[in-house]
């Protein structure tokens, strides 16, 4: 993985600066918004502003590429509808991306713009005609969203950190319900936790498993085992 951050700045400011700097270094000609110091807040202070529609659509389409699922409505344009069960979109992907603790909210429009730039370039090279009324990544058919994402997340590219960071946070939204306390996520039927079958806690919100073992010897120990159970 390449560099997310640059020296000489406060840590969270540096994330923003890293995105900006590398975006320029890639030479895509896309101007990313520079996070204002007043809006780059410590965790848990100021809620982020609502995302613009193009950013929302683009990030939803990327989230559905990482963890695909069923369309919310027949005319859903961001969820491709290629897999049964919930998409990361309905498992709170955008909620996680916008969490104050994540500190990425002010960079999301820039990341979406960068992703759309990559999608437009990909489409041009592949000879695909995209719907001009949609952000280019959203307009890509699902197999092409996947192919582009494979390319973007292959190590060695200077912008690789952004795409794997987004994909990791999207996955965390689905697999861990990371925007909510886990007990709350389970009680409100979090789509990702339900899909993987994450177990419910005891009545006090704590997990314990009184039944946990087959309770019988299932293999012979190594002949090279020493007294305390370690290898010789």
């Amino acid at each position: 993985m390449g560099s997310f951050v640059h020296g000489g700045l406060s840590r969270r400011r540096a994330v923003q600066a890293g995105i900006i700097a590398t975006g320029g270094a890639v030479g895509l000609g896309i101007v990313l918004p520079i996070a204002d110091a007043a809006t780059t807040t410590a965790p848990g202070t100021i809620a982020p502003a609502a995302l613009d529609q193009a950013t929302t659509l683009t990030l939803e389409a990327y989230a559905d590429t990482v963890v695909p699922g069923e369309k919310r409505t027949p005319d859903d344009i961001t969820i491709a509808g290629v897999a049964p069960g919930p998409s990361a979109v309905v498992a709170g992907a955008l909620d996680v991306l916008q969490m104050p603790e994540v500190g990425l909210a002010t960079s999301l429009p820039g990341l979406a713009m960068l992703l759309n730039g990559q999608a437009a370039g990909y489409a041009a090279q592949a000879g695909l005609a995209l719907d001009p009324n949609l952000p280019p990544f959203v307009a890509l058919p699902f197999p092409h969203r996947v192919a582009l994402t494979v390319s973007l997340t292959t190590p060695g590219r200077p912008d690789h950190p952004y795409w794997v960071l987004l994909a990791t946070l999207i996955s965390w939204a689905f697999d861990t319900g990371g925007a909510q306390h886990t007990t709350e996520a389970l009680s409100t039927g979090h789509a990702g936790l339900a899909w993987i079958g994450f177990p419910a806690p005891n009545a006090d919100g704590i997990w314990r498993f009184p039944q946990f073992s087959y309770r019988r010897q299932l293999a012979k120990p190594s002949p090279r085992t020493t007294r305390s159970g370690s290898p010789a």
Binding site: R11, G197, S228
Partner: protein, 550 residues
């Protein structure tokens, strides 16, 4: 102008195994001890059963480097709080490794037999419990039975866990809210503080410099940090000895930054990093085959579906720890359970996209039938650190993710070991149709993933290949000791915590010798935190102690 600076006999940086053990013995011997810890001080009720970002991420980070990522604890007790408590001695052949340089990597004075008394002491003091088959999780049982059906052996893994308190909750990565995991906050640290040692959480050491006070060797510069990582204040302490135990990702960075004030560091500082050869695989086991092939049943209706239940480490196979095999081809295979945090890295297919997309989504639906196995192999010490950040040892990316300057590009030797382990694991797990495919975790997202960073300021006899001498002292800097995973010369083919503890115990007499040399009134006692003297006579007769007490 006259300024006053706080003074201590011994300044300890970090409070995991490497910091807590020397802190206890120095305090027990009569020294004035201060421990500076970067993270918060927490206790059982603070260790949440929660995956919300911002909760457990107060004390657990994934440290992302270039080509490698490390899961690391960040609180009082360090890695001992968030680890899976596997407590294993390294196999004998490890100590004879020569690496790709063809030179002995460990000090000649350290072998399994010379380290065994220190392992004994460490097992006694944590203490370590042998899991019985009644303690082993369902997942550990499936792996052991699969090994057995393939003609292999498998052992329950010894753990630093109080089996009577363990609720088998599956949240071991988040710290133990039942005080069952025997981390440093339950043994060495409370014993050290009872003897007068001071623990200062949220104190991030930046660098070392020469002391300005007569009789004191080093000044330790630190920042007091706020929970969001910003700096609240800065100050310094001067000490007669300094024990660096900020972890294999922290210690070398502090030393790198200290070159400006102390002078040129040994060449091996920040080099020869080892990932312990960690290599993870996860796969879905066929529930029908668990019943029909392995003959296992949880109850009348369920064979397994228990990936998340039980102690995080259950069973492992030592068969690959064959001393007759060539170096780089020896490994152990250990069943473990990682939280859903790591689901991102699991591959559904060998080919792209593998770790995301439609097939991965389908694999997630079988999460309860997943099994994860960690291969611990012989890597090539091929990691190294770039320049340090302006402050601290990393830069924060987001909640739960930080970035450092570590780079790791596995060599052909390391990859051969991983391939050998992968082939063996696939042979065991696909037999009888138990799993249809066995894939290692993707490298695309976080590079190599390890929970066992080692060797970044290592011991040795060769001054070009090691930063420390055989007694953990930094070459050229009397009174600076490194006692954490940084000091371990090579990968261990098993989980490192017991070896780190044993080496830290072994280093203590030498640290006390140096403290006395600077005028501190301190002596070595081989008592344990609970007051046991069971090993005292044996320990007092060891050459490391005789040298220091003569």
């Amino acid at each position: 102008m006259t300024t006053t600076v706080e003074l201590a006999d011994a300044l300890i940086v970090g409070s995991g195994y490497g910091g807590a053990i020397p802190a206890f013995y120095l305090a027990a011997g009569g020294a004035k001890v201060v421990i500076l810890e970067r993270g918060p001080q927490l206790s059982a009720n603070d260790f949440v059963h929660d995956m919300k970002l911002g909760s457990y991420t107060r004390y657990l980070d994934i440290v992302v480097g270039d080509g490698i990522s490390v899961v690391a604890g960040n609180c009082v007790g360090g890695g001992s709080v968030v680890n899976f408590a596997a407590a294993l001695r390294a196999p004998s052949f490890v100590f004879n490794r020569v690496g790709s340089q063809g030179v002995r990597q460990w000090p000649a004075s350290i072998s399994r037999s010379t380290l065994d008394p220190w392992y004994d002491l460490s097992e006694l003091t944590l203490p370590v419990a042998k899991q019985t088959w009644n303690d082993v999780s369902y997942a550990g049982g499936v792996f052991a039975a699969a090994c057995d059906h393939a003609g292999r052996t498998a052992n329950p893994v010894p753990l630093a866990v109080d089996m009577s308190k363990c609720t088998n909750c599956g949240w071991q990565l988040n710290g133990c809210r039942f005080n069952a995991k025997r981390s440093m906050i339950l043994n060495y640290l409370p014993a050290a503080t009872a003897l007068g040692a001071k623990i200062r959480p949220m104190h991030e050491v930046q660098s070392l410099a020469p002391a300005t006070t007569s009789g004191y060797r080093y000044r330790v510069n630190y920042n007091v940090v706020n929970p969001d990582g910003t700096v609240a204040s800065s100050s310094a302490i001067e000490a007669k000895v300094v024990v660096l135990a900020a972890g294999a990702l922290g210690t070398p960075v502090i030393l790198q930054r200290s070159a400006a004030t102390l002078g040129t560091m040994p060449f091996a500082v920040g080099k020869f990093f080892s990932s312990n050869g960690d290599h993870l695989s996860s796969f879905v086991v066929n529930e029908d085959k668990v019943a029909s092939y392995l003959g296992l049943h949880r109850d009348a209706n369920t064979a397994y579906q228990a990936s998340f239940i039980g102690k995080s480490v259950g069973t492992m196979s030592y068969d690959g720890l064959d001393p007759s095999k060539a170096e780089f081809l020896r490994y152990s295979l250990q069943q473990l359970y990682f939280a859903p945090l790591s689901n991102t890295l699991v591959k559904a297919t060998a080919g792209a996209p593998g770790w995301f997309g439609v097939d991965k989504k389908a694999m997630r639906h079988d999460w309860k039938s997943w099994l994860t196995v960690l291969a611990m192999t012989e890597d090539d010490n091929e990691g190294g650190f770039g320049p340090p950040p302006p402050t601290g040892t990393y830069s924060r990316i987001t909640a739960g993710l930080v970035q450092n300057s570590l780079q790791y590009r596995p060599t052909a030797n390391t990859i051969r070991g991983w391939t050998a382990a992968d082939t063996e694991l696939a042979t065991i797990m696909t037999r009888g149709g138990l799993a249809t495919q066995v894939n290692d975790w993707t490298f695309d997202v976080l590079g190599t993933v390890t929970t066992h960073p080692l060797s970044s300021a290592r011991m040795g006899d060769n001054a070009n290949l090691s930063a420390l001498d055989q007694y953990n002292e930094l070459r050229g800097f009397p009174g600076i000791f490194v006692t954490d995973g940084s000091a371990v010369p090579t990968s261990l083919c098993v989980n490192p915590s017991l070896t780190i503890a044993a080496l830290a115990n072994r280093a203590v007499p030498g640290i006390i010798l140096r403290a006395r040399g600077a005028g501190a009134s301190v002596r070595y006692t081989a008592q344990t935190p609970d007051g046991s003297t069971a090993e005292q006579a044996t320990i007092m007769a060891l050459p490391e102690v005789q040298r220091a007490t003569a």
